[in-house]
């Protein structure tokens, strides 16, 4: 984003457009301003600057920073949320879909996408290691608004039925691997794998109580099964639940690890692809004709 030919040749676009801008020395929250390259040439207001003082320029940059980050957050709430709902939908919506095979398989593969692209954008252009966390926080904000307003407020499904999957530990892990390794390849391999492996243990603290057993008229059911059965979803007959299917019979009850490792391997590939998606779209070149 915002790169042009002048950047590639080493010049700084900010110094050209806002000669007196302290943007290179202090954006939002900067305290105190720190001298940055070329700052010597920007020490005073230059004729033609839109700002009357350094303080005014600093305020403008800070405001622009806040507007940018808020706008990005809102856009990601929408974009990432739509992607998530369309691809992992029911496995995340319902407590009786959070199984040992598909939930830990589908979610990481589908959710490592936007964070990978966001990591390219925030890391390559800003050296900010919060792309994944930023995206997952936006997703969870959208999901909680959706679950509370739509699922509970409009259709009266209790939150015990429709709580969203906890994602932040996975996202923090992905971001910190990038920060420490400074390598997108290592992040793809180590980070994506961890992103997948952390889903189940990180959520088990919420999910475990709903996997307690109960006898219902001679049939064994988990509490999650009972919640899903009791709260009527007219358009969701039981047979469309895609849970606990597959041929991992030889792994007995220990299928979570297998599913998570599988998801991890696929996530590595997905990360590679989406890092490059981020690369493709972190540019203004598609807008040059405007």
């Amino acid at each position: 984003m915002l790169r042009d030919k002048s950047i590639k040749t080493g010049a700084c676009p900010v110094t050209e457009s806002i000669p007196a801008s302290p943007g290179i020395e202090g954006g939002a929250g900067s305290n105190p301003p720190v001298a940055a390259p070329n700052i010597g040439a920007l020490a005073g207001a230059v004729s033609g600057s839109p700002f009357t003082s350094r303080a005014e320029a600093a305020t403008a940059v800070k405001t622009a920073d806040l507007l940018l980050i808020i706008a990005l957050f809102l856009i990601m709430i929408g974009g990432y949320h739509v992607h998530a709902m369309l691809t992992m939908g029911d496995w995340d919506f319902w407590v009786d879909w959070k199984d040992r095979r598909f939930w830990p398989t589908v979610l990481p593969i589908m959710l490592v996408t936007f964070p990978a692209a966001a990591q390219y954008f925030f890391w390559v252009h800003f050296r900010l290691p919060f792309g994944a966390t930023f995206l997952c926080l936006a997703l969870l904000t959208g999901e909680w608004i959706d679950r509370y307003v739509s699922f509970w407020g409009w259709t009266f499904f209790p939150i015990t039925l429709c709580w969203p999957t906890s994602l932040i530990p996975m996202a923090l892990y992905l971001d910190i691997v990038l920060l420490l390794s400074k390598s997108w390849i290592i992040t793809a391999i180590v980070g994506s794998m961890g992103f997948s492996l952390l889903l189940y243990p990180n959520n088990w603290v919420i999910l475990a109580p709903y996997h307690q057993a109960s006898e219902q008229y001679g049939t064994l059911m988990s509490l999650a099964d009972i919640i899903g059965f009791h709260y009527v979803r007219t358009s969701m007959p039981e047979y469309i639940r895609i849970i606990e299917r597959g041929t991992m019979r030889t792994f007995g009850k220990d299928v979570v690890g297998v599913a998570s490792f599988f998801a991890g391997f696929v996530s590595i590939i997905v990360y590679f692809v989406w890092w490059n998606v981020g690369k493709m779209f972190s540019t203004v070149k598609y807008m040059e004709t405007i």
Binding site: L2, E25, R127, L179, V205, A213, P237
Partner: protein, 427 residues
């Protein structure tokens, strides 16, 4: 001058045409919205008539109560005949789910029994057989709700049964749904561990927000971009930042691992989600097609303008008692012969045609006798329930169950049906 003014007006109108069109569209939409009412049905009329007639036949339906208080239980009971006339357009119900059609979770489904078998998951039903069912509901949300039983068929979709309005009174906040666990404790699934859900999400949400705030506070976006763009990207992240990252990583992993271990020890006996279908559901004996009657369909017609189905049958009574035709039941509608049903029938009025069935010969069919009878089914409900679309269906055939009665009160339900020829003009 006149021409000039008209030209000017025309130019002005042309310039404003887009705005006027948008304004008109918005006004039109607003008017449409004002005219909408609450959506309290479930599309039961939307499916083609032949599908509703030929897939399932619901009879002996009863709603134990139509007015209940929050937390009060009520039942829908009845019999479900899987029609031999099952159409090719819908997959047979070898994987089906006895579902509840209602506007959301207004009542909790405590139990469903099919053939006496508890059926919380998909089950296999066989064409030509009849099953008894019982649905137990627990009133949850106050209101006036249209409630059905419906059969959802894999790849075939939902097939709603007849609906009845149920009034739920009381306070929604009083609702509880207690479930007893195997360890002996009883929990309310409406709120169980709700605090735990909020706590963990809040904790991680704050952690994520703090992480973003920490980095954003370090020169925001524009400042960092300029710095990175100047070719000094390696200097932007300091060793201290990396130390913060390493400590954060340890904290995240430590928290996940420690609390995972604590949770595992707190809930040592958990089970996976239960999956798998129910098979060998016991069917009812002595129900549809078990009577001592032979019925041959001789053809029929459907008069579209008069909403009148005429079906001709040759019926042989091989029983020991004389029988009379009392009712024709199809797609949840009941067309009664008033000479047989002389008392009020308890059934949703919009589905009950108390005088809807007429016979060419209303005299009983004696034991050993064979009769040709022309049966006329006529009622406005054909139209209101959109069965009159039969004439335009891709398979112009009807089906239903005829109920024969003896003087001693024995009932013989018999499946009938076949192709019908529509008559489009008044004759």
């Amino acid at each position: 001058m006149k021409t000039t003014m008209l030209s000017s007006l025309a130019r002005h109108a042309k310039r404003q045409a887009g705005r006027l069109w948008a304004l008109g569209l918005a006004a039109g939409l607003a008017v449409t919205m004002a005219a909408t009412g609450p959506a309290d049905a479930h599309g039961e009329k939307s499916q083609a008539a032949f599908l509703r007639m030929r897939t399932l036949n619901w009879y002996d339906l009863k709603w134990s109560k139509t007015s209940v208080s929050v937390n009060e239980e009520y039942e829908i009971t009845g019999k479900l005949h899987i029609m031999n006339a099952w159409p090719a357009a819908v997959h047979i119900p070898d994987r089906a789910f006895v579902n509840t059609g209602q506007p959301g979770a207004v009542a909790n489904r405590e139990a469903v029994f099919v053939g006496g078998q508890f059926a919380p998951r998909a089950l296999q039903l066989e064409v030509g057989k009849t099953y008894e069912f019982r649905v137990v509901l627990r009133a949850r949300r106050p209101g006036h709700w249209h409630t059905h039983v419906q059969l959802s068929v894999e790849t075939g979709g939902p097939i709603p049964g007849p609906g009845q309005y149920v009034d739920i009174k009381g306070n929604f906040n009083d609702f509880t749904d207690p479930v007893k666990l195997l360890n002996g404790t009883t929990v309310d699934i409406e709120t169980y561990k709700l605090g735990n859900i909020y706590l963990w999400h809040l904790l991680w949400y704050v952690a994520g927000a703090v992480w973003i705030a920490y980095w954003f506070s370090k020169r925001g976006l524009i400042g960092r971009f300029a710095w990175v763009a100047s070719g000094k990207g390696e200097e932007v992240v300091t060793p201290q930042d990396r130390l913060v990252g390493a400590i954060s990583l340890a904290a995240v992993l430590g928290t996940v691992i420690i609390f995972y271990a604590i949770t595992v020890s707190s809930y040592p006996n958990t089970i996976p989600l239960q999956a798998g279908d129910f098979r060998n559901i016991p069917a009812l004996a002595g129900e549809v097609n078990d009577g001592p009657l032979k019925i041959t369909y001789l053809g029929g017609s459907y008069k579209v303008p008069g909403r009148e189905l005429v079906a001709n049958f040759k019926i042989t009574n091989d029983g020991k008692e004389a029988v009379r035709i009392g009712e024709f039941n199809t797609a949840g509608l009941r067309f009664l012969n008033p000479d047989v049903y002389t008392t009020k029938v308890d059934y949703p009025d919009y589905l009950l045609a108390e005088r809807g069935l007429t016979l060419s010969d209303n005299a009983p069919i004696q034991p050993g006798e064979t009769k040709e009878i022309s049966l006329t089914v006529q009622d406005a409900r054909w139209d209101t329930e959109r069965l009159s679309g039969l004439a335009y269906d891709v398979d112009s055939s009807f089906a239903g169950v005829l109920f024969f009665f003896t003087a001693s009160g024995t009932r013989y339900p018999m499946e009938v049906g076949g192709p019908v020829i529509p008559t489009f003009l008044p004759v």
